[in-house]
């Protein structure tokens, strides 16, 4: 009797089970599993990307806000810049002549004097240095230090009024120090004499290009809890 002739149903069923399991396992391990892994990873990626994509409305709002902030900040800066003298920044020769004009009798010195006179401030010591010779590489910020600047005021309130009036001045003025207030106020007094060394700043048009991104002003030290009263 041949080999096949000796097979019984049990043998056939056992062999069938083995083949069935072997085929199933083989397909699962070598075909389905990699595909399912890929599918699982794809779904994870979809969830990740979807989570990012669902931020679209928020991102649009933030973009609009950032753009609005940018326009507002630039607008504020333009207001500041428009109050500055118009100085050429690209042409070194013209820049020098612009500075000559600005440092001359029709420039910053006279403008400040006229403003102080118009606002009835009695000041002395406005001193403008000689302008540089051409060619001039216009800096982003020009600082004119006037250490001999002083104020005469009728009373203490007049000095305080002056110190609070700097935002209205036609140039950016920083009060470096107020070291001494002395004299005598009142109708019989000769007034208060206050040395107020100041620095006049001129911001030029290339200030923005020269300012690295992330640069920030160092704020003045807090002067007490009621600073917001200023």
């Amino acid at each position: 009797m041949s080999f096949l002739g000796r097979l019984t149903r049990v043998h056939v069923l056992m062999a069938a089970c083995v083949v069935f399991v072997a085929v199933g396992v083989s397909f699962m391990v070598f075909v389905f599993r990699p595909r399912l892994d890929t599918l699982r990873q794809t779904r994870i990626d979809i969830n990740t990307q979807r989570a990012g994509a669902e931020k679209l409305p928020q991102a649009l709002v933030e973009l609009a806000k950032a753009h609005g902030d940018y326009l507002m900040t630039k607008g504020k800066f333009d207001v500041i810049l428009n109050r500055q003298p118009k100085l050429t920044v690209n042409d070194p020769i013209q820049a020098a002549f612009d500075l000559w004009k600005e440092y001359g009798p029709l420039g910053t010195g006279t403008i400040l004097v006229d403003w102080f006179r118009a606002n009835r401030y009695d000041v002395q010591g406005i001193s403008i240095p000689s302008p540089p010779l051409p060619p001039v590489q216009m800096p982003p910020l020009i600082a004119l230090s006037m250490s001999g600047f002083s104020l005469r005021a009728a009373d203490f309130a007049g000095v305080m009024r002056f110190l609070r009036a700097t935002p209205q001045m036609p140039r950016l003025v920083m009060v470096n120090n107020v070291s001494n207030i002395g004299g005598s106020s009142g109708p019989r007094g000769g007034g208060l004499s206050v040395p107020v060394p100041i620095t006049v700043y001129i911001i030029t048009k290339n200030a923005i290009q020269a300012t690295p991104v992330g640069a920030a002003a160092i704020p003045a030290a807090a002067a007490g809890p009621s600073r917001e009263e200023l």
Binding site: A53, D122, V123, P129, P139, L163, M174, A223
Partner: protein, 259 residues
């Protein structure tokens, strides 16, 4: 009729084996068909998911692009903001002088005749005169209560007495320390100076030490690559970083008397 099976048993067994083999073959074929179907389903699902992935990737890329634009807008606003902040800080700084002097003055009794208020770093010196020693004491006590100072020193020229100076820290204003300061006790003063004739006013000097948080510091301009030119740049002064060619050869002074 009687049916007798005279065939050997293996004939039946072979028959059953053949049928079992056919059945097994059919099952295997069904299995393979199922596997093929599952494979196709997986492929179809994968294709669908891939389309979804592409869609969401594109959307996420759009969001990333918008976020990039947002960052760009913010960084573009940075330099403008730095200058705007600096100018605002400058005006606040200027006004803070007024605030500080007004706060100092707020603790001066209105019966005190102030001659000078001097400010040097941490030290504030107030010189003035009072009608009496009682007035000097009141002014001193007021100043001790002022929150601006960490230390107050009193210098008083009592008529007929030489200058005495005592120091009290407001933080240590216990009764014992206060008494130890010798305030109002002639015995605590330096001694009689008969060469000084008595006068109506009592000159008083208060030397106070400001708390560090009340020392006013100027704001620094935004960091600029090309530096700051001022009298520094054009020929001397406090600003750093000369950036302008040429030199200053003098200066022009302007008269500024307002009225």
């Amino acid at each position: 009729m009687i049916k007798i099976n005279l065939l050997p048993a293996y004939v039946l067994e072979r028959h059953l084996v053949r049928r079992a083999a056919i059945l097994v073959g059919a099952i295997i074929i069904v299995q393979l068909a199922a596997i093929g179907f599952a494979y196709m389903q997986i492929n179809r699902t994968m294709a669908r998911e891939k389309i979804g992935l592409d869609h969401w990737t594109e959307k996420a890329g759009e969001v990333a692009s918008i976020q990039g634009q947002t960052m760009s807008e913010r960084s573009s606003a940075g330099p403008y903001q730095a200058w705007v902040d600096w100018v605002a800080a400058m005006h606040t700084h200027n006004a803070s002088w007024a605030w500080l002097y007004e706060e100092i003055a707020r603790y001066v009794d209105n019966k005190v005749l102030i001659r000078t208020i001097s400010l040097s770093g941490q030290s504030v010196t107030l010189t003035g005169a009072t009608d009496s020693l009682e007035g000097a004491k009141r002014w001193y006590l007021n100043t001790l209560m002022c929150y601006l100072y960490s230390d107050v020193k009193l210098g008083v020229q009592v008529p007929g007495w030489s200058l005495a100076q005592r120091s009290v820290s407001p933080g240590a204003m216990g009764a014992g320390r206060f008494a130890a300061a010798g305030l109002g006790r002639p015995g605590g003063l330096a001694g009689i100076d008969l060469s000084t004739p008595p006068s109506e006013k009592t000159p008083v000097t208060l030397t106070c030490t400001l708390l560090p948080q009340f020392i006013i510091q100027p704001p620094a301009p935004p960091a600029v690559g090309a530096g700051v030119a001022g009298r520094g740049g054009f020929g001397g002064g406090p600003a750093a970083g000369p950036a302008v060619g040429g030199g200053a050869v003098g200066s022009m002074r302007f008269g500024g008397r307002g009225d």
